[in-house]
Point group: C2
Chain length 232, copies 2
DNA sequence: GCCACATTTCGGTGCCGGGCGAAACGTGGC
DNA sequence: GCCACGTTTCGCCCGGCACCGAAATGTGGC
């Protein structure tokens, strides 16, 4: 008797594959080789893992020349993995970061990062909080108010187009470091995308961590009344 | 290098353990022996699995005499497993039910069932739909309107007490058979509990399937304008 | 054409973990 | 006290799978 749940869980049950998925939560596409180096395993082994994950519907791949780029299959899968990871971290006794480099990295990630396709960390939670406070978002379910929709439009976000998409317009995503929900879904992704293209935030190094630029600081203050203290 | 995500996923990655968790999604406590029979494995093997799941934080156990009752650790874990299961079913090619008994069972489950602690199936989705239509619930996030809160109070549900609880007041839960969200969270659980104690619904046999009683039919019509056709 | 490099295929190895049954343990009923 | 029964412990077997390295394949650059 085959149990689909067990099959899917089994794909995430291997340390190397889990490391792949967590890395891919940054929302970008990685090559198989990058994932291999990241997880510290041989390229041949990583290749087999990637094939399993793609066949299992967890990842989607795209071949470009001699590279095989791979990303999470879709936002729902990203949300699912993120939720599982949050829950799992909560259960495990977490080893605190050790050494100067690790601590710096951990701090940067806790401050501001991408969570697949939207902003997370203290920054993401602060933005969400400000949106709730200003009544752009409402209630526990994160539904946009009329004022919120106007605000999105003011950022050149095509609200009508987003609403037509299959994925939920606004969704809660449990923050891994803050343990509080932040804005996700189509609107969260659009907001993040705008933040990058307007250079309010930029990536630090190769990971999920991002830095708020000086322009970003001004923009968040002007748009949401956010003070730097709330996220840095 | 230990990866918490892999550890948690690993607990769900075994067919027997997955079967346990799916069975426990009915929200009740099962004994270790019942789970063993359900999964078709030896009691000794089941005992070991239960221990793993309890130690891993997926299940909570409670010993009563010579029995070991076990349930899902909490509503969040139930929601996580349900989401994983829905996603997994979507990926796998599902074997259609075979034989008269299986078909009858499948139909009953699709019609109305419990999903951990709230109502699901066509009934659950129909109730949610009626609540949305009557503006008791709002938007994509399932936030209760003022009218909705009044309506809950009218059913002897202590809204203030529910709101103080840690778990989300209202939450979406993706329906396994309907592939559409239905009401979950503290309010969904309270509603389900009322439906049972008022005998609007009753369990069929030993599984998660429930039947709407004649009183239930009248009550759903009176309370929400639901027609029997919408869920049967 | 030839080299460099990313990826995949293939064999082989070692280990982890699920399975069982037998026996021990603990609790409740008589 | 004794038996019945649910549960657990233990020892053992076996299959599956993560891993590697070597070689093959495929692609881009020169």
């Amino acid at each position: 008797m085959t149990v689909p749940l067990a099959r899917l869980a089994g794909l995430l049950a291997d340390p190397s594959r889990a490391a792949f998925c967590l890395a891919l939560l940054d929302g970008r596409a990685w090559t198989a080789g990058e994932l291999a180096r990241h997880a510290g395993i041989a390229p041949s082994t990583a290749s087999a893992h990637v094939t399993l994950l793609v066949d299992g519907g967890v990842l989607a791949d795209e071949r470009q020349g001699r590279h095989r780029y791979v990303r999470l299959a879709d936002p729902e899968m990203a949300a699912l993995i993120e939720e599982l990871a949050v829950r799992a971290e909560g259960l495990a006794e977490v080893r605190p970061p050790q050494g100067l480099r690790e601590v710096t990295r951990a701090k940067a990630i806790a401050r501001a990062r991408t969570c697949y396709d939207h902003l997370a960390g203290r920054l993401g939670v602060a933005i969400t909080g400000a949106m709730l406070q200003r009544r752009l978002l409402t209630g526990a379910g994160f539904a946009f108010t009329d004022a919120g929709l106007v605000w999105l439009s003011g950022l050149d976000i095509d609200v009508a187009a987003l609403d037509k998409a299959k994925r939920p317009f606004a969704r809660q995503c449990l923050d891994w470091t803050e343990r509080r929900p932040h804005l996700a879904g189509a609107a969260g992704a659009a907001l993040c995308s705008q933040a990058f293209s307007r250079q309010w935030v930029e990536r630090i190094g190769g990971g999920r961590a991002v830095r708020v630029t000086p322009e970003g600081r001004n923009a968040f203050a002007a748009q949401l009344g956010l003070d730097e203290k709330q996220w840095s």
